[in-house]
């Protein structure tokens, strides 16, 4: 049924499929979905969602008896749910509920509530599964309810009670975290909350029971529209008020660094000057914390990816983009030593970070204050980190903290007996190893600090 060139993640929904045509994202709509598509278009439902930046806009290309083909606006870089910070995840959950409520009010309903229906674009969460809307059947329960709970509510609750790192579970539990696991992991006091008891614990119990007793009987269940809206509203209110309780080592990073204000400004100026010469449309800042240095750039950048291993820093960045109403910055969580792998069916359904960043092709990569962590905490030789950066970026602006730097000293002292292994860590070795792969365009000492900053360009191979 699906064309041979369907996108590797687009195979479940019989209503249609996505394919990539010369870099354009197109969607084929099959006849079984024609009625819904027509209703959604003619009633202005799609239009309202486009205008509110809640659904990825599309234009109709062809319309025949066999199929309808639409073209969707291109999103420069897709982030997956396991790369979102806590508040980004919250935003995605709230968006899903918002859309379901609006759908119900207009006589529609979401067929599925997968976290992969959403990604981040122009500074906000946006729904990308255009064919997910179906007609509402009077008094039927929400088919996607359980999926909403396992894809959204469960991860958020685990993060709330056990830390943001729990969100990483999603790359393994690709179809949501199972209710039984979450129910057993949440503290006892959650059973005293009506919202949590009913939506998690009771649901987990019932799911368990019905999995065993299933004799192939169909049971008809009914739920009034008002009842469904109540569920949605109560989940919305609860999720909106969810917050993490932890601090992190990185949170207020810039308060704890060893920069003098002068050195900070000088570093910023150098980076700004270099970026102005490269004039990038697209850049990525690896270990970019809360986006501070990218915000200081004069150059008008179309898309700036800012990733960091620390959820709190990314959350702070996300919050700032919302308060400033910025469209160009996309924060996300990434461990540079273990970037997201390709997972799902045939391990092509959800693409690896490296493939996505190569396709994104940033003009310049910033790697400020991250190489010492890769080399010392991660034990990664210079030659390997050089290979990594050069695999996706033409220009690299990298900051090297010298041995005398206080952060480096701290990391070295943590090594105790093993400290001698890191004798290789000095600026001369760095230059010689990186020069195998990069050409050093410029090199500057940051006055008032023990750091050197480089502008590198990958050598033509």
């Amino acid at each position: 049924m699906n064309a041979k060139n369907a996108h590797s993640s687009s195979f479940r929904d019989p209503s249609g499929y996505v394919f990539v045509d010369n870099g354009d994202i197109k969607r084929v709509i099959n006849p079984i979905y024609f009625k819904q598509y027509k209703a959604l278009t003619d009633s202005g439902f799609y239009k309202t969602l486009f205008e509110n930046n809640l659904l990825i806009p599309h234009t109709e290309l062809t319309n025949t008896e066999q199929n309808i083909i639409i073209k969707a606006e291109k999103i420069p870089f897709i982030t997956y749910p396991y790369e979102w910070s806590f508040n980004m995840y919250k935003e995605a959950a709230l968006l899903t509920l918002k859309l379901q409520k609006y759908s119900l009010e207009k006589g529609f309903s979401l067929k599925d509530a997968s976290a992969f229906n959403i990604t981040f674009h122009n500074g906000k969460a946006i729904f990308i599964d255009t064919l997910s809307f179906d007609f509402y059947q009077e008094n039927s329960p929400w088919r996607a309810y359980k999926q909403f709970i396992t894809h959204f509510f469960c991860p958020l609750l685990l993060a709330r009670y056990h830390g943001a790192q729990q969100l990483k579970l999603l790359s393994n539990f690709i179809d949501g975290i199972p209710l039984k696991i979450v129910s057993s992991m949440l503290p006892f006091k959650t059973k005293l909350s009506p919202v949590l008891y009913s939506n998690i614990h009771l649901l987990a119990k019932l799911e368990d029971k019905h999995n065993e007793d299933y004799k192939g009987e169909a049971k008809e269940a009914t739920l009034s529209k008002k009842g469904q809206l109540n569920i949605i509203q109560s989940l919305y209110d609860y999720i909106k008020n969810l917050d993490l309780k932890e601090h992190s080592e990185w949170g207020n990073y810039y308060d704890k660094t060893n920069y003098t204000d002068d050195a900070f400004i000088k570093k910023s100026d150098i980076i700004n000057t270099w970026v102005n010469t490269v004039k990038p449309d697209r850049l990525i800042d690896i270990g970019g914390n809360d986006g501070t240095f990218v915000r200081k750039l004069d150059s008008a950048i179309e898309t700036a990816l800012v990733c960091d291993i620390d959820n709190n820093a990314v959350d702070f960045n996300h919050r700032t983009t919302k308060l400033n109403k910025e469209h160009f910055m996309l924060p996300f969580v990434l461990d540079v030593l273990n970037p997201s792998a390709a997972i799902g069916l045939n391990n092509t359904e959800r693409d690896s970070f490296l493939n996505r960043i190569k396709a994104f092709a940033p003009d310049v990569t910033l790697a400020l204050a991250v190489i010492h962590h890769m080399s010392l905490s991660g034990n990664v030789p210079f030659s390997e980190s050089a290979k990594f950066f050069s695999s996706f970026s033409k220009y690299l602006i990298i900051e090297f903290p010298k041995r005398e730097d206080s952060w480096v000293q701290r990391l070295l002292n943590n090594k105790a007996d093993f400290k001698d292994h890191f004798d290789f860590y000095n600026v001369d070795n760095f230059i010689s190893d990186y020069s195998e792969i990069f050409e050093i365009v410029e090199q500057k000492e940051i006055e008032g600090s023990n750091r050197v900053i480089f502008l590198l360009k990958t050598k033509a191979s």
Binding site: R143, V195, A221, I231
Partner: protein
């Protein structure tokens, strides 16, 4: 006809009526408490800068986001 391509879970279908009843109760009591507190001056109307409310406005005039940096 509804076309599904995943298993919604039998338990989840059946229990939604119960969950809805609980939700209704929670919303009612929270709303009541909030109104009482507002009236007594204990609570101020909450304004969240980052997450907005659940309504989607049909009118497009109100929703032009002021733009970039």
């Amino acid at each position: 006809m509804i076309f599904l391509y995943f298993d919604p879970g039998l338990g989840a279908m059946i229990i939604q009526a119960v969950i809805a009843a609980v939700a209704g109760f929670v919303l009612f009591s929270k709303n009541l408490m909030y109104k009482i507190k507002l009236f007594l001056g204990i609570s101020k109307p909450i304004k969240d800068d980052v997450f907005d409310d659940i309504e989607i406005k049909d009118s497009d005039i109100e929703n032009q986001n002021s733009s970039e940096r």
